[in-house]
């Protein structure tokens, strides 16, 4: 029973006896860290961080911003010891959140604020807050390593419908508020506001810690179980909630535009997710379909540089764009009949490059070549031009809000397509092909047809997104559709979790919001993408929001991928007490 636990926890072995001292001590340290002075320094405008010079003895309650987050994490860590939760899971999440918050707020002043002195002293005071909080975080993580991670509790999803509805509404509204808070955190990045990046990252770390803890107690699993059960209700609420974003503090021109961009990429990424996530076919030229959709729509938009002197209604143009892209998708996918997996990736890459070259050379006069197709008019429905602001009654909504609404509808549509296909005969066939192609054929699945269908549907969705893209950006140029954009889309899918819809949206959002917040690091954007691909494949191949199948796998595994049966062998009575207390 009392075998050494180091085989479970990996490299570090912490005696179980230290669990409580480390856990509660870490919590106390975090609270202390939040109240101690943190570093402060001035860049162009204003002190970083906000209210960082607060003195414990002067105004103990005026803590805000990330220091409030540290405080909260610490309090929760202590409270968690006295309520029945999977303690080590919760502590691990809180600990990593603390480490993240502290690290961001130590490293940024260190790099941008003038070296080591900047983080240890603040005028006459020693600014230990950051370091104490970091130690607190480490203590919590170590406390989580005193034994195997507990299984995530499964809450019953058989609750009265009304209760389920209420829970879903509350959760989605909370989600909306979190999103608005994140978009707003630190404002938009750039030279004028160098604090945006760290403030955003710090908030991200805090939220990750909180979400991790909520996942650890089974809450997020329960909510997603409920939303699986009440699929249609969830979709409707989610759309309504998304439509409420313009009314929050994030409802500015700037964020509406960014959110619309995210939407276009998210819709495209979901399409790619059908090909990569469900059917397991790597497509490295996928952005070409977005490009085809955009060029088709631009040519039918009545723009001066368009090849056809005809202005079709947007809906018609979008359908044509989707169909044309879909046809190309089927053509590109057709080598799957003969070409094996990774060779196929090269075929798609080659196609993407052929498309780019053709567009660059203004093939058939359809793409404008280096001149692009400029001045694509905005969508105009019932006299409302989509690029202007909108006034409803006394409410003035930011410009771009109509595009935002259109794109929310588009994303919702694409999500429903994805979800319906995934839970169907076709979706099962795709997943079977991904898992074992020979076995899939032996089950009577015509694998060639199924794979071409995946390409076709994925490309159609991208073409549709491309049509919106053309009107929204107003200039359609070949260099918006380069290899690296395909890599970005792929990174979004993989970061979020292959085969998972919320994952694709989250991935696209992160990959577009982060560069906005971290303008001063824009040079490093691509390198960070590359790094993200490598690290995710190595350490979290299932992505941030794994698909249900993969989630089920995870629920059965401990932190380091050790199957639960193996973990139980090492369980000691002391651990059980910690769980049930």
């Amino acid at each position: 029973m009392s075998k050494p636990t180091n085989s479970v926890t990996g490299s570090v072995a912490i005696p179980p006896g230290l669990a409580r001292p480390l856990g509660i001590g870490g919590g106390v340290l975090a609270i202390l860290g939040a109240l101690l002075p943190w570093v402060t320094f001035l860049l162009n405008d204003g002190a970083y961080p906000d209210k960082a010079t607060l003195q414990f003895f002067d105004a103990p309650y005026a803590v805000s911003g990330f220091r409030l987050h540290v405080l909260l994490l610490g309090v929760v860590a202590i409270v968690a010891h006295f309520i029945p939760v999977p303690l080590r899971r919760v502590l691990r999440a809180l600990g990593w959140g603390l480490i993240g918050v502290a690290a961001v707020n130590i490293v940024f002043p260190l790099v941008d604020g003038g070296g080591f002195g900047a983080i240890t002293s603040d005028g006459t005071n020693f600014a230990f807050g950051g370091i104490v909080s970091l130690i607190a975080g480490i203590a919590l993580v170590l406390a989580a390593k005193t034994g195997p991670l507990e299984p995530v509790p499964q809450w019953k999803t058989s609750v009265p419908t009304l209760v389920a509805y209420a829970v879903l509404v509350v959760s989605f509204v909370a989600l909306l508020l979190v999103v608005a808070m994140m978009l707003n955190a630190g404002g938009q990045g750039g030279v004028g506001n160098p604090y945006a990046g760290p403030i955003f990252l710090s908030l991200l770390a805090f939220l990750a810690g909180v979400l991790g803890a909520l996942h650890g107690i089974g809450l997020t699993g329960w909510i997603s179980g409920l939303s699986d059960k009440h699929k249609w209700f969830s979709v409707i609420v989610l759309v309504l909630v998304a439509l409420a974003l313009p009314f929050t503090e994030a409802g500015t021109d700037y964020w509406m535009t960014t959110a619309a961009n995210i939407g276009v990429y998210a819709a495209t990424a979901i399409g790619l997710n059908i090909v990569v996530g469900l059917a397991g076919l790597l497509d490295l030229g996928y952005v070409a379909f977005l490009g085809i959709g955009a060029f088709v729509a631009a040519n039918f938009s009545g723009a001066a540089a368009a090849a056809f002197d005809i202005e079709l209604p947007f809906v018609v143009a979008a359908i044509i764009a989707a169909v044309v892209a879909g046809i190309f998708g089927a053509v590109v996918g057709s080598p799957t009949l003969r070409v094996r997996g990774d060779y196929l990736a090269i075929v798609t890459l080659a196609f993407g490059e052929i498309f780019k070259k053709a567009a660059q050379n203004n093939i058939g006069g359809l793409t404008g070549g280096a001149n692009a197709i400029p001045n694509v008019p905005p969508i105009n429905w019932f006299g409302a031009s989509f690029d202007e602001s909108l006034t409803i009654g006394s409410l003035e909504l930011p410009s771009g809000v109509l595009y935002y609404v259109l794109i929310i509808v588009l994303v919702a549509l694409v999500m429903v397509v994805f979800a319906n296909l995934k839970n169907s005969r076709i979706g099962r066939a795709w997943i079977a092909i991904r898992e074992d192609e020979d076995a899939a054929r032996a089950m009577g699945i015509k694998t060639g047809q199924a794979k071409i269908l995946a390409f076709l549907i994925g490309a159609t969705l991208a073409g549709l997104a491309g049509a919106v893209f053309a009107h929204k950006t107003s200039t359609v140029a070949y260099d918006s559709f380069q290899f690296i954009e395909s890599v970005t889309l792929l990174a979004a899918v993989i970061l979020g979790g292959m085969g998972s819809i919320p994952g694709a949206v989250l991935g696209a959002a992160l990959l577009l919001v982060l560069p906005e917040k971290l303008r001063e690091f824009s040079d490093y954007r691509l390198m960070l993408f590359g790094l993200a691909l490598v690290l995710i494949m190595r350490f979290r191949p299932q992505g941030l929001v794994p698909d249900r199948h993969r989630r089920a796998e995870l629920a059965d595994e401990g932190a380091d991928g050790v199957p639960i049966e193996e973990l139980n062998v090492h369980d000691t009575p002391g651990d059980e007490k910690a769980v049930t207390r």
């Binding site: 319906n420 169907s424 005969r425 076709i426 076995a439 089950m443 699945i445 549907i457 796998e553």
Partner: protein
Amino acid sequence: MSATPVLAANSVSMVFGGLTALSNVSLRLQEGQILGLIGPNGAGKTTFFNCLTGLYSPTTGNVQLRGQVLPTDPAAVTVAGVARTFQNIRLFPSMTSLENVMVGRHSRMKQGPLASLFHGPAYLKGERDARDRSRELLEFVGLGTVHDELARNLPYGDQRRLEIARALATDPKVLLLDEPTAGMNPQETEATRQLIFAIRETGVAVVVIEHDTKFIFSLCDHVSVLVQGQLLVEGTPDVVRADPRVIEAYLGKPPDEVEAEVRQYAEEAAHGGPESTQVMQPIRDQDGHEGGNR
């Protein structure tokens, strides 16, 4: 052999770049029959299965299902009514048991892409029927309690049974089992034997590849022995068991010893007491090491 056999292989030969893996192998499977295919390591049993299921296209000869020549496309063969399991289990590891079986229903479902997109009433009914049928099949093979378990998390013996359920979901007329008891303990082996009898009761004819000769002799109505790509002997278990060539070529043991062993097993099987039996160690084929997970 008067009636049209449900499955017939006619002089199937298979040559791989100058290497003859099978030469002129013929086989007749009658309705309701359980046919055993045995042979030493590398005799070409799995190659023969691959020819039967359309994975390989035989160099000469053909395969007929109820008189119709089968195409050499695994999906089409399955649609026609020949289903198989694999020697090295090949489930869809990150799908649940139920989903694995529902994939087996694929070719018997009608929904096209548009129906799959819109989920209309007819679609939902089809989906419900498939789920019900799949649940039945899981019950049938004794996996009624593990619908929502991921295939990769099932114990080994359950994985083999799940593969059989998945194959049955294609509504086959003929079921081909490639070493269904490999790696099983005696209890599981006996359960599998009963399961195969039960499958026969439902009107499906079965071909079994096995190394465990006792298992084959106690299970099958008809046994074919494949040695070095050629059909050496075929007939009832009694005939095959008594044939000195089989004992010589396949078992490599003095005939009387093997015969005693086999007779003992047959008696035990007849008296329903498998507890004391020793299962012969399965001999793996060359490509047996390739695991189900890629």
